[in-house]
């Protein structure tokens, strides 16, 4: 086991086999800073457009929403009011159509139907069913 592990231990003891170009680490700071500066210079052209537009777009969206809701409510109210007016107008015109001068003349020229004669027995029975005994007594007293 130890003998098998030695191959890795042996490789470790040999140290680092990789190399870098001369002065690589010395120039790294400047290259990284230059890249950051280049990326920072590019970034503002993209960010402010969105950061300026974002609140404006939000505000516009809110106005559109409020306007839409208001318009919807007003449209609905107007439609209901118009329906009510239409109904009243239609009713009035229907009434007008029903009562015309000719129909009025016909109505008054028509002879009234003869009222049926009421015989005495029917009258007594009606009074007996509709009036109390005291009422009948009072009527009788007044008649005599």
């Amino acid at each position: 086991m130890n003998e098998e592990k030695d191959i890795l231990e042996l490789a470790r003891q040999e140290g680092n086999a990789f190399r870098t170009p001369e002065g690589y680490f010395d120039s790294l700071e400047d290259r990284v800073m230059a890249r950051i500066a280049a990326e920072t210079a590019q970034t503002p052209s993209r960010r402010p457009v969105w950061s300026v537009l974002k609140p404006a777009l939000t505000l516009a969206a809110m106005f559109a929403l409020i306007f839409g809701m208001g318009y919807g409510v007003l449209s609905l109210t107007h439609t209901l009011g118009r329906d009510a007016n239409v109904a009243a107008t239609e009713y009035a015109s229907a009434e007008e159509e029903m009562i015309t001068p000719a129909s009025l003349i016909n109505y008054y020229q028509t002879e009234p139907a003869e009222e049926p004669e009421i015989d005495e027995e029917t009258l007594i029975n009606y009074l007996a069913s509709e009036l109390s005994f005291a009422d009948l007594a009072e009527i009788y007293a007044q008649a005599n």
Partner: protein, 179 residues
């Protein structure tokens, strides 16, 4: 300059000075960590610069509950893993090809044993390679590796043990084939 001195400098508004100090303190350690992951010097340079640019961009949000050391190692490891993953999606295991080119790499002067070592490490899955490298080369305690890779110590120990056994076997096979 210590981590806390760098951070104090940064919080006093001397950002450029603080950042230059941070790069000076960590450039070599991070370079070697990335180099062992991606092998090629130019790729390492790209990843290292990306690491420092990302550190600069997020230094404002560095809360100080982790050490700068751990935080920078995490960024560097993620950059290396992203690079390796991008290579795999572009067409196979390019790190194996890079390992194959080591013998002709002007910035590599290892012997057969070193070639066998880095070719074997290149066969490991990327995350296991990170665990192996941090432990084997940097001799980082498991506790710190766990902070860097944001994983549990238990799983790291198992992962390192398996990686160690695999690398040892592959190295032996390569050395036996040569001699």
């Amino acid at each position: 300059m210590t981590d806390s001195e760098i951070l104090q400098l940064y919080r006093r508004g001397e950002r450029d000075k603080a950042f230059r100090a941070l790069v000076a303190s960590y450039r070599e350690r991070l370079y070697w960590h990335i180099r062992r992951m991606v092998l090629d010097h130019d790729d390492t340079d790209d990843c290292l610069q990306n690491t420092f640019v990302k550190a600069w961009q997020s230094l404002d949000r560095f809360r100080g509950d982790a050490q700068l050391f751990t935080w920078l190692y995490r960024i560097a490891t993620n950059e290396s893993l992203t690079f390796l993953s991008r290579q795999q999606t572009r067409g196979g295991h390019l790190e194996l090809e890079a390992a194959g080119r080591l013998s002709t790499d002007p910035w590599f002067d290892g012997d057969q044993l070193q070639l066998a070592l880095h070719r074997s490490i290149a066969k490991l899955p990327p995350k296991q390679k990170a665990v192996f490298n941090l432990r084997y080369f940097d001799e980082m305690p498991y506790e710190k590796i766990a902070q860097v890779l944001e994983t549990s110590e238990g799983s790291l120990k198992a992962s390192y043990h398996h990686a160690y056994e695999k690398v040892k076997t592959w190295m032996k096979e390569e050395m036996d084939a040569k001699y």
